[in-house]
């Protein structure tokens, strides 16, 4: 696929993510920080976010599976997840984390379980679009480096 078409596809994808509320203005900030001296910046941040999030979701699942839930630990992980999603511009995930925090503060196990499911749902929706985004980015980068040779 020609470079122009790839770029177009990427733009359409990112714009749709903004419209759907998956991403917010913080993501635009990340895009602004990417330049010739740091061409892989957005991809790097996205990758870190996904690794971090999946690790935390696993821990949260374990913690809420206990008979007696340690809400302090749960809160610490939710706080972290909320922070990373905020830093990457993952709006829906961040909002779901805010809800989760509420239930945590109330020590509401049912609420926490449903909030965790919501966070997972939002995260995995975002994740699949991020995957497509990264693939497109990679193909675009490949073009750019070909042209330099």
């Amino acid at each position: 696929m020609p470079l122009m078409a790839l770029r177009e596809r990427l733009n359409v994808l990112v714009n749709s993510m903004f419209l759907e509320g998956l991403l917010d203005q913080q993501f635009r900030q990340l895009q602004m920080l990417q330049d010739a001296s740091s061409p892989g910046f957005v991809a790097e941040v996205i990758t870190l976010f996904c690794e971090d999030s999946e690790r935390m979701l696993t821990e949260l699942t374990k913690l809420l599976d206990q008979a007696v839930v340690d809400y302090q630990k749960v809160d610490a992980y939710v706080h972290q997840l909320k922070g990373s999603s905020s830093s990457v511009g993952a709006q829906n995930v961040k909002l779901a984390c805010i809800q989760f925090k509420q239930f945590c503060e109330e020590n509401n196990k049912e609420g926490c379980l449903s909030a965790l499911n919501m966070v997972k749902h939002q995260y995995y929706s975002l994740r699949s679009k991020f995957d497509t985004m990264l693939q497109l980015e990679q193909r675009i980068q490949a073009y750019d480096s070909e042209q330099q040779n």
Binding site: L33, F41, L48, D52, Q80, K82, G83, S87, G89
Partner: protein, 212 residues
Amino acid sequence: MAVVAEAQFHVLAVDDSLMDRKLIERLLKTSSFQVTAVDSGSRALEVLGLSEGLTSSSAVSPAHNEIEVNLVITDYCMPGMTGYDLLKKIKVQLMLPHISISWTCFERFMGSLFVSHQGSSSLKDIPVVIMSSENVPSRINRCLEGGAQEFFLKPVQLSDMKRLRPHILKGKSKEQQPQEEETSSTSNKRKAMDEELSPERRRLKLSNYSLI
């Protein structure tokens, strides 16, 4: 093409989140700062030449790797040492209690005894900026009262970077500033300051390497 590099200010960034470290690093580099990013308050103290529990005097060692830091930017919420704890450790280097003489006399007296690992300015003059994802007014006030120059809400934006420079320049030795203001017009002020600081900094650094 000019061969001489402009003197760059060096910022020490502290955050336990790898993602946030990448972000702040990129923000700072984009704004022409040199960056060292660490993941904890204790690592930050090591970079500054201060180990936990030791005063700056006991950190003296000719083999010690000196890294000059012009500003510290730290996350508030970190396990172990919080950003606030780090702020206090930087601002209050000396741990001698129960001395009932005026603070400024004490500072001047002690300052003459200790070697500064920061060259021209002492450690406690290093501006500290605190970042937090939570907008808690009491927390913000506590930090500002504790000596923080600024409090940034996360996620930190490119536009926030502009707020750093004025504090870095104030943190430089006071002797340098009036000199620069005399010799440069306002439009070239920043550039001239950057160019003049480099040799000045070096000269002052050498003269501070003496223990009375």
